[in-house]
C-alpha cells in the first residue's frame, strides 16, 4: 500500500523513481559495457552470465567474456560482449 502511494507521488510530482522507489538503473555504453545502479547483490557470476538482485526484480546479463570492472554498494560496471539482458521476478 505504502509503495503504491510512493509510486503515485513520484508519478504526480515527476520525481525520479530510482531515487524515490529505489528502482534499478541500467546504463549501457554500446554493447561493451553497462553500469548498474541500485542493485542489492550478486546472485550468479561467470564469464557468460551475470545475475543480479535488485529491490523489486532480478536482472540477468548474457554475453561473452563478461567481467566486473568494479562494484561497490551503489553501482557495478560490467564489461565484455553483452548479448542480452532480461528481467525476472
Amino acid at each position: 500500500m505504502f509503495d503504491q502511494v510512493k509510486a503515485a507521488a513520484a508519478d504526480n510530482l515527476k520525481l525520479p523513481k530510482d531515487v524515490v522507489l529505489g528502482e534499478v538503473l541500467v546504463s549501457f555504453v554500446g554493447r561493451t559495457s553497462a553500469v548498474v545502479e541500485n542493485y542489492r547483490g550478486i546472485l550468479i557470476y561467470d564469464d557468460q552470465t551475470v545475475k543480479l538482485q535488485a529491490k523489486n526484480c532480478k536482472l540477468q546479463f548474457h554475453g561473452r567474456h563478461l567481467h566486473i570492472d568494479y562494484y561497490n554498494h551503489d553501482e557495478m560496471k560490467i564489461s565484455g560482449q553483452i548479448q542480452s539482458m532480461e528481467f525476472g521476478d
Binding site: 550478486i42 546472485l43 557470476y45 564469464d47 567481467h67 570492472d69 562494484y71 554498494h73
Partner: protein, 415 residues
Amino acid sequence: MKEALKHYCGGYLCVRLRGFSPERFLNLCMARKIVIWDLRYQDGGYQFLISVGDFRRIRPLVKKAQVRLLILGRYGLPFFLYRNRKRKLYAAGIGAFFLVLFLMSQFIWNISVEGNYHFTDDTLLHYLDTLDIRYGRLKAGIDCNVLEESIRSQYPEIIWVSARISGTRLMIKVKENEVMSNVPEKDEVPRNLVAGKNGIVTRMVVRRGKAQVAVGDQIEAGQVLVSGEIPIYNDAEELADLQFVHADADIYATVSESYREVLPACVVERTDTGRCRRGLRLRAGGLSFLWMLPSIGGNPWEITSKSCQLTVLGDFYLPVWVDQIQAQEYQTYERCLTKEDREIRKNIIHQQKIENLSEKGVHIIENSVKILKEGSGWVVQGDFLLEEPVGIGQEIEETNKKEIDQADERNGNHY
C-alpha cells in the same frame, strides 16, 4: 587516475578465489565496503584485485563463505621497494635525481615578458641583465617588488608591471602607455619647398609661404616651388621687411620614372635529391652533444633546426635545450632561361615595382615594361608616368638672412 595512483602507492594484490560460494563472498565484501576491482571469471575460478589493507580484513569472510584464496601477484610501491631493498645504488640514483631536481628548482631558467609592444623582449631582457637577472640566477636573490619599481622607473612609458616567479620561470607582465607621453614639437625652422624631381605641376595647395610656380608649369629638380621668404611692402609699395616662414604646401606633379633590372641568361637552380638526415643536439650550459649520421657524398645539405627548452610540469624549465635537426640534400645546376621564364620574371619584377609605388601612395598614370637583349643577358626596362608629391623642404641659409638684415641696417630700417 587518482584511484589507480592511490592503489599503486598503497600496494595491491592479485588474488584467485575458489570455493563453495564465491558469490556470497563477493556480497559479503560489498556489505563490509571492501573494495574489489577487475573481477574476472577464469578457469572455473575468480580472479580479482584488492588493496593490501582490505585483504587483511577478509579473513573472517573467507571462513564464512567457505572459499579459498590464493595470492597470484603483489603490485605497487611497497612491494617494489621491498623487492629492490638491496639495490642501494638504484635508491641512491633516485635520491640523486630528486636532489638535483630540488637544487635546479632554486634557479631561474626561463624569463617570459608579456604585454610589451613598443619595447621588445630583447630590450627588456637586456635591462634585466644589467640588474643581474638572467638565466641561472638564484630565485632567492630576486625581489619582485624591487624589480617592478626599477622597470617602471627605467621606462616611464610602462605604466604597470607585474613580476612573478612561478616554478623556475620569471614572468613579467607589463602594460605600456598607449597615449604618447610627449607631443612632437612643430617644426618652425624657416624653409623653402623645392622640387625633388623634374615634372609638370598638376595641382597644388599652399598653406604657408609664397608660391613660385603655378599649375601646368614645367619644374626642374632643385627649383624653388614655395618660398619661405614673405616680402612685406609699405604703403609706397617699397619693400619694408622680409618674414621667414616654414613653407608648407601639397604640390603634386607628373613625373617620369624608369628602372632597369638585369636578367642573367642562365640561373642556378636547386633540386632536392630526396635524401634527408635527422638528428638531435642536446645543449646544457657550455656542453653540446650531437647525435646525427655523417653526410655521405659531396652534395650540399640544407640544415634546419628547431629548438625547445625542456620543461617539467609546465613551469619548471630545465637548463637543457634540445635541437631537432633536419638536413635535406640538394643539387645545383645551371639552366638557361626560356622565353616563358623571362616573361614570368619580367612580370614579377614589374608587379613588385608597382606594389612599392602603391605603398608610397603614388598615383600611377601610365606604365609599360619590356625585355631587351643586352650583351649575354637580358634587361627588364620599365617606364612609369606618375603623379606624386614633389615638394622637399630646404632650410633657408643663415647667410641669406644676414645679408637681408645688413641691407636693412644700411637703409636705416630698424624694427
